[in-house]
């Protein structure tokens, strides 16, 4: 019973008062971040990263804090979906479809409770899945050589581009922008500068935290200025919160099915939580059929996407921890944290740093119960926070971003770079070019190139070496399929689009 002894190790770390405090704090902050429209899990975690470092947290603590924020944000996203019909973040989009009608029918409390319980079931099952699957996958990952890793990175870019965006060319372009930026700085093998233009600030390359905060937080500020923060008025009043036991029980199969499907969607590199909630909603809708009344505010329609997106959030941690390839935007941000802390995710992480992995898993289990408590009995506290107006919130977010980056690097150059990334992010998002592949490119660019070069050193320059093993061939095939297949499937499966009232 290796898992039990590992879990015991994990809980011995997670149950220390300090780690426990961080987990609770993370859940609290995360729920707020998720609930506030315009702040999602990825930009929420991104803003908090610099502050984590100035706290001087060690790897386990930093990871516990930020993943609790991540889980919390996934829970919190539903609050504004249900009460305002504005998704707090992208994965919560599908929750609007039944959550808001249910709230308008005078049952906002029920909608919040059902979705909270569904979130709990999804996240808990996914964490258990992570616990079982991650060590197994880590063992497989030992078989990976440079050629396999190169193919794996390619797979991450292609599925991210293929599944999670509307236009293949634009997603591929975004990946290239990220990879191109990653090349800036000193060449790992020769030590010679590349693309620095003689600028000393660029010798170390572009810090991915600067890019992340710029592309997520600053871009969001520009969008708020463009829209003048419209559509953020409080919609529905929440009076009394009771627990509709019978209705929760009636959704039990929906929750289980959705958790499973969401978890699988989360594991696919690049697909992430938005896909998870979309697929689960569509699945439950077709199972319920015409009589199910989906879209009019039924319990199953609220439970399915919430169980799905929270399960996907847990699933996305599997490839991130075992292979170093993030499954979603937010896990890409978490990967950035690990890399900054000098921890290389991958199979060796499980062997060398079991304290980090199992401490994290144990904390996530605890965080789930904390989140259930916060999101069901205490949900009114968070509803009140929704009334922070955007004209205070967005300037605040900007200032926190600036101070965070400044305290990390102490250079005005990085601040300018951050603003530049914000402006870039605005234009790209206007043109429907996804920004997550850019982050992935900046994060993985150097590792991808190193693996390619190492593979070529091993083979003496023979390019066929890239296709020499069954694993790498399988990954190449999956990469090509993942990129091309959505072109044909797009008629049937569409990326969830913003819901208009």
């Amino acid at each position: 019973m290796e898992i039990l002894s590992n879990l015991a190790l994990g809980f011995s770390i997670a149950l220390t008062p300090f780690t426990l405090t961080l987990a609770v704090l993370g859940c609290f902050l995360g729920t707020i971040i998720g609930a506030l429209p315009g702040l999602g899990p990825s930009n929420g975690v991104a803003i908090l990263i610099p502050l984590t470092f100035t706290f001087g947290l060690d790897a386990t603590s930093a990871l516990v804090l930020l993943t609790s924020v991540y889980y919390g944000a996934m829970y919190g996203g539903r609050i504004s979906s249900i009460l305002l019909n504005i998704p707090g973040d992208e994965p919560a989009l599908m929750t609007c479809l039944d959550g808001y009608p249910m709230a308008r029918n005078g049952r906002p409390g029920d909608a919040l409770v059902i979705s909270g319980v569904a979130s709990f079931v999804g996240a808990l099952l996914a964490t258990i899945g992570l616990m079982i699957l991650a060590p197994l996958l880590a063992r497989v990952a030992y078989l990976f050589g440079p050629a396999e890793y190169f193919a794996l990175y390619l797979l991450a870019f292609s599925t991210l581009g293929g599944i999670a965006s509307n236009n293949q060319a634009k997603a591929a372009l975004a990946s290239c922008i990220g990879l191109g930026i990653a090349m800036i700085g000193l060449d790992n093998s020769t030590g010679m500068p590349r693309f620095t233009g003689g600028n000393l600030h660029l010798m170390d390359g572009v810090d991915f935290l600067v890019a992340i905060v710029g592309l997520f937080a600053i871009t969001e500020v520009f969008f708020f200025i463009e829209s003048h923060g419209k559509g953020s008025a409080i919609g529905i009043k929440l009076d009394k919160v009771t627990i509709p036991w019978r209705e929760i029980w009636s959704t039990r199969w929906t929750m289980l099915r959705s958790s499973l499907l969401g978890f699988v969607a989360g594991i696919l590199p690049g697909a992430g939580a938005s896909l998870g909630s979309f697929l689960t909603y569509m699945m439950e809708k077709s199972i319920a059929g015409e009589k199910g009344g989906f879209g009019t505010g039924v319990a199953k329609g609220v439970a399915a996407p919430e169980a799905g997106n929270n399960a996907a959030a847990g699933g996305a941690l599997v490839p991130m921890l075992t292979l170093g390839v993030p499954g979603s935007g937010t896990t890409a941000v978490l990967l950035a944290v690990l890399m900054t802390l000098n921890i290389t995710p991958g199979p060796t992480l499980f062997a060398d740093r079991p304290d980090v992995v199992w401490g994290l898993i144990a904390s996530l289990l605890i965080a789930n119960f904390v989140l259930l408590a916060m999101n069901v009995p205490m949900v009114k506290v968070f509803v009140r926070i929704l009334s922070v107006p955007p004209w205070i919130l967005m300037p605040g977010v900007t200032m926190v971003s600036f101070v965070g980056i400044y305290s990390l690097t102490g250079s005005y150059f990085d601040l300018l770079l951050m603003v530049a990334f914000g402006a870039l992010g605005y234009s790209l998002r206007k043109l429907d070019i996804p920004t997550v592949p850019i982050i992935l490119g900046i994060l993985l660019g150097n590792a991808m190139e190193d693996n390619l070069r190492r593979a070529m050193v091993l083979s003496g320059g023979d390019w066929t070496y890239l296709f020499s093993s069954a694993i790498s061939n399988g990954l190449w095939l999956a990469a090509v399929l993942g990129f091309v297949a959505p072109l044909f499937l797009r008629r049937f499966i569409k990326k969830p689009q913003a819901v208009t009232d």
């Binding site: 502050l51 020769t190 520009f222 463009e226 955007p390 300037p395 200032m399 951050m418 234009s427």
Partner: protein
Amino acid sequence: MRVGDRIFGLVTIVVALGYILSATNIQTSFMSDPVGSKTFPYIIGAVAAFCGLIMLILPDADPEWPSLAGILNLMIALGALVGYAYALKPLGFIGPTTVVSAILSYQIAPNLARAILTGVGLAVGLFFLFYYGLGLTNIDPFPKALLG
């Protein structure tokens, strides 16, 4: 009209070719491997140029662009943020933060009194939070020259 994608596709092609051109000038060293420092950038540049070409040929429908006044607004915000990046170190935290938060706040909801209050509140509140709460002592409250 499908102008946005076309323009962006063209810009992409130009930038990608420039990227490839500047990759030819990367200094190589005596330590070399079969792939070298230039190949990967070449591949990236080529793929990016190809994507640009596709955007040029098969553009998506244009998004809703902001009005002229909206663009001007965004430019002001951009200018304010750039100014903030330069001002934070020499002028201290309180002054620039007040001004820039007030500008951003006013741009989101044009109400002068509220914007000024937001600016002052955020500057003072965040300073206390960062400096005393989180112990970020590398930010100065006021210009260094004033503190002597």
